[in-house]
Subunit: 419 residues, 2 copies
Amino acid sequence: MIKILKGHIIHTPTKERFEVHADSYIVVEDEQVVGIYKILPDQYNDQSIIDYGSSIIIPSFIDAHLHAPQYMQMGVGLDLELMDWLNQYTFMLEGRFADVNYAKKVYPHYVDALYEYGTLRSCIFGTIHDEANRYLVHAMKEKGLSGYVGKVNMDRNAPVSLVQTAERSLKETENFIRDFKDDSMVKPIVTPRFAPSCTDELLDGLGRLSVTYHVPVQSHLAENKAEVAWVKTLFPESASYTDVYVKHQLYGPEKTLMAHSIYLDSVEMELAKSAYIYMVHCPNSNMNLSSGIMPVTQFLDEGITVGLGSDIGAGHTLAMQQTITSAIQCSKIRHVLSPKERILSEPEAFHMATKVNGSFFESFGLIGSFETGYQFDALVIKDPSPIMDTLKPVEQLQRFLYCGWTESIQVRYLNGKNI
Amino acid sequence: MIKILKGHIIHTPTKERFEVHADSYIVVEDEQVVGIYKILPDQYNDQSIIDYGSSIIIPSFIDAHLHAPQYMQMGVGLDLELMDWLNQYTFMLEGRFADVNYAKKVYPHYVDALYEYGTLRSCIFGTIHDEANRYLVHAMKEKGLSGYVGKVNMDRNAPVSLVQTAERSLKETENFIRDFKDDSMVKPIVTPRFAPSCTDELLDGLGRLSVTYHVPVQSHLAENKAEVAWVKTLFPESASYTDVYVKHQLYGPEKTLMAHSIYLDSVEMELAKSAYIYMVHCPNSNMNLSSGIMPVTQFLDEGITVGLGSDIGAGHTLAMQQTITSAIQCSKIRHVLSPKERILSEPEAFHMATKVNGSFFESFGLIGSFETGYQFDALVIKDPSPIMDTLKPVEQLQRFLYCGWTESIQVRYLNGKNI
């Protein structure tokens, strides 16, 4: 089954630059990209062409870190810092997902929003609640979206209604993994909330599940100075925050997402260079909770893999284009205050939200680019020129990144299908 | 003519806190607020009530700094710094407004957008072109919006197509002032682009026009380090960038808006404390062009009046709610990097975008608050609770500030009229 789309095709096979194919054809066979052509090869002469005119066609967005239940609290209480915000808002809200009917009321809005914003794959924290998490997987699949969904694990340092025994937490996690690990659209991910909410027993069990079932891991790391100090008192035998996860096989050998990772010492920076470790930059969240700002270009230049996350609800928008521009803005502030730090370029930030985040989705295929063999996941973005001036394709992309909204997205493709 | 509106009424008479009147009535007589009441006084018993239910009612937004022609370039070329961005994008675009037909094509989109975003009053830079500026005034009035519009003055250091002789620039400015100074909706403002684009002769003439006609002034100040250094070489006899304006009566005695004002020395900081001087913080612009970040809470705590501006097109959004949250985010970054600087609070930032910016509109009446005697300029913001959880009124406002969009605005009032 061949599909041929025409438009201005833009992607980032490398982070150095936007690869722009103006007025070109992209050929998709079944789910995957065959190639991009300025002149269509003869063999496709009889095929019909879906012509998107002067619209741009870009890889669809991938969000490497967000909390589904927090969709309901976005934008509220952001005058607080992390621990107060968790205690006054987040934990209370998450407790409500004990009732699956609450999940059934709100998760459809959340998956609709992911779809509207063009975030067609994402790495999601659910809650501790098995029924609600299963409903979330169902809602994602109904909407045709792909992702990793994690049952959140906590067995201490949270309200009573949000902690489980390590035994129950592990049992439910294992069942959840078994039931979804072979799903083609939504797969499980091992999700200790963060070190302070887990005992060694729980962390140990989660590490074993990850290794046993070859399931990736997501958690939080070094988001806030007070949190780092707290981890030191909770795990006095660990050399660092990172070391807590390392000890329990939750920092490799499986692919691992570590959200935030702002306050790392030099040993942790070295550990972060492992091929299976992704640091997830969440600029809006980090600004909103006054957590700090990852020195993202320094991380990149040292060879650390850095993905990008909206981190709603501490982040206040699901829009990955706004997360991209916030990441650039943050790096510009770091640059003006400390000129030796360089600015994150537009192609680099776009590359993070597409090909880097996409590479975490290995078990779904090649994701996040339009190179040959990649799953064809794409957004068609309306050309704003009719009421504006004529823009070059890369300027159209710039305008979308800075000013685009859900209505800017004309069509969404996932695995080669218009969804 | 009495109007009575009911809803959750929120405003900031002082910057310290949101004044919240849940489920209350605001009484408007002709154009102005009479009072806010929890229980409606008997004298109004026969009046009909416009009931906005659980929506919040807030003062409409005022933008203290933006460039109308740059609406067409929003989001494009923000990988450049100020001078390159001006030369490669802005000046080229502004040149096109020599043709009033271009203005007629694009300015209607601009004023529509102001309306959609709830920015019902604004302080606008036009271009040097008399016909285009007059059309802009016309378009604003047609849409029912209020503002100051400035004919931009430049007689050096810009492309040939954008400089005029000082004589012509002054003549056109004087005619523009005469024709609109008594208008009730859109008034003129003296607008030297910035010191580097004006000779002493031009600056001197503009200062005289401001004083003669009692017209306020808007310009740019100390946006970027390279610009500050350039001003020093262009005006070697001036003690500082500020001093260039002071010398020419363009820094008082009339009310004066100085956009950016990031790099001020200690003498300039003292001068900034004058009652007629407004420093305009433009956080998105300053981040996007890597200009720097105003230490806004330090300015406030020293008693400097600080307004807020979108500064499109260097800012990438007209949305004042997004400008408010960006200002807060910037102050949080400054705080985490330099903990002695305090964070800008939500009420403070909202106060800047309403009552502080509003106080610049003295010649239009009392603007930017719901205190007795203020012009009733308001936005009714839809309650997001039906699909979300039940939010307190101040949480509804928080959600609007962080996540709101044009569709969140249900109704717009200006001078007591639903527009």
